[in-house]
């Protein structure tokens, strides 16, 4: 009986932990948004973060986008050919890239490339007590350290996702039109017929913007959370 109670209590503790993490996330978001004016007053810091998060992710995003487009073009062609509608290849490639694959894969790659270095950077600042040092010098670490990363991600990820989708469409065109020989006119016209600017492209951009601010936020939230001591980074038990 007590075993059952214990596991229910463990479940409860897990859930409470989850809720408090969510609350910490929301509080940090509110703090950053409250400091928007102070953060935007120093655009150089944001530009440096766009460079760090965006420019350095460019190569992997472009290569991955091109290859996703190539694969979509090839596999889509073989499936569509069975139904005699190879002309729909353009709309297939464009819709799957713009609506889903672009924002999601770009965000995943961004998490892998930029997220890891962000975690290491902020974690080291926390472990080296640089954040506390900033606070001692009356420099707000949220406005000085987290804010520019938040806005950097917000700017960089939609651009990366757009690049991913555009390069992917070109990849689909390379395989479908240049290599296999789908009619180029049908490829582009069906694409522009089937893809809506507001419903598909703008929604994709909004989606990737949400991914963009959430990732640096979540990481910094995990790392800077006062309840989670930085000792683990030294390899010690908290």
């Amino acid at each position: 009986m007590s075993g059952v109670l214990n596991s229910v209590a463990a479940l409860g503790a897990l859930f409470l932990q989850f809720v408090s993490a969510l609350g910490g996330f929301a509080l940090l978001l509110a703090k950053i948004l409250a400091r928007t004016a102070a953060i935007l007053r120093r655009p150089r810091l944001i530009a440096a973060q766009v460079h760090f998060l965006g420019n350095h992710s460019l190569a992997i995003i472009l290569v991955a986008g091109l290859f996703v487009g190539l694969v979509l073009g090839l596999q889509g062609y073989y499936t569509l050919r069975r139904y005699g509608s190879e002309e729909a290849l353009g709309v297939l490639v464009a819709l799957s890239l713009v609506r889903e694959l672009g924002p999601v894969i770009a965000a995943l790659l961004f998490a892998g490339r930029a997220g890891t270095s962000l975690t290491a950077e902020i974690g080291l600042m926390k472990a080296g007590e640089q954040l506390s040092a900033l606070e001692t010098m009356a420099v707000d670490p949220i406005a000085r350290v987290l804010g520019p990363r938040f806005f950097g991600g917000l700017i960089a990820v939609p651009l990366l996702a757009a690049l991913f989708s555009a390069v992917g469409v070109i990849g689909g065109w390379l395989v479908g039109v240049a290599l296999i020989g789908v009619d180029a006119g049908a490829f582009w016209s069906q694409m522009s017929d089937g893809v809506d600017f507001w419903n598909d492209i703008v929604n994709g951009v909004i989606k990737s913007a949400v991914f963009g601010w959430r990732l640096p936020m979540w990481l910094s939230c995990r790392v800077t959370n006062q309840n989670q001591r930085p000792m683990a980074l030294h390899g010690q038990q908290p």
């Binding site: 150089r44 530009a47 440096a48 766009v50 460079h51 965006g54 420019n55 460019l58 139904y83 005699g84 509608s85 464009a94 713009v98 700017i155 960089a156 939609p158 651009l159 990366l160 757009a162 690049l163 989708s165 555009a166 390069v167 469409v169 582009w188 694409m191 522009s192 017929d193 893809v195 809506d196 600017f197 598909d200 492209i201 951009v205």
Partner: protein, 137 residues
């Protein structure tokens, strides 16, 4: 110099992203092809609209002459009421008829307008009064 290089790199990245967006807006989506010219509204009644959706094309002789604005149900006539935005460049006789057609095997539904023989044209009247096209399905 360091700062200038950074600005240059970031500027190039942002520019590249905006070019990608522009490419998608103009080449991939239908933003460029959409004519935002003046339109006039016409009502059409159908017994069954099948899979017709708002923003579907209205074509006559295969040429896009308008878009479906809204689809409603008319509880006076128990029919589907479809509001069409037709391009003002194109005039149609008053007794034109509309059909719901399908493009290709798996394609979207669209409305085909067949011009009638009336000398008077369809036109938008004052509020709540539109010329109505009788439609089959």
């Amino acid at each position: 110099m360091q700062g200038r290089n950074l600005n240059l790199a970031v500027g190039a990245f942002v520019l590249l992203g905006l070019i990608a967006l522009l490419f998608m807006a103009l080449q991939v989506s239908n933003l460029g092809a959409m004519s935002n010219g003046p339109t006039y509204e016409v009502k059409a009644y159908f017994d069954n609209i099948g899979g017709l959706k708002p923003r579907a094309a209205v074509k006559s002789a295969g040429v896009v002459v308008g878009r479906v604005r809204q689809i409603q149900f008319d509880d006076q006539q128990y029919q589907a009421l479809v509001l069409l935005d037709l391009d003002t460049r194109y005039k149609f006789p008053k007794d034109s008829s509309a059909k719901i057609l399908t493009s290709g095997l798996l394609g979207d539904n669209y409305i085909g307008l067949e011009p009638g023989g009336d000398l008077e044209n369809l036109k938008k009247l004052r509020s709540h009064q539109h010329d109505a096209i009788g439609g089959g399905t």
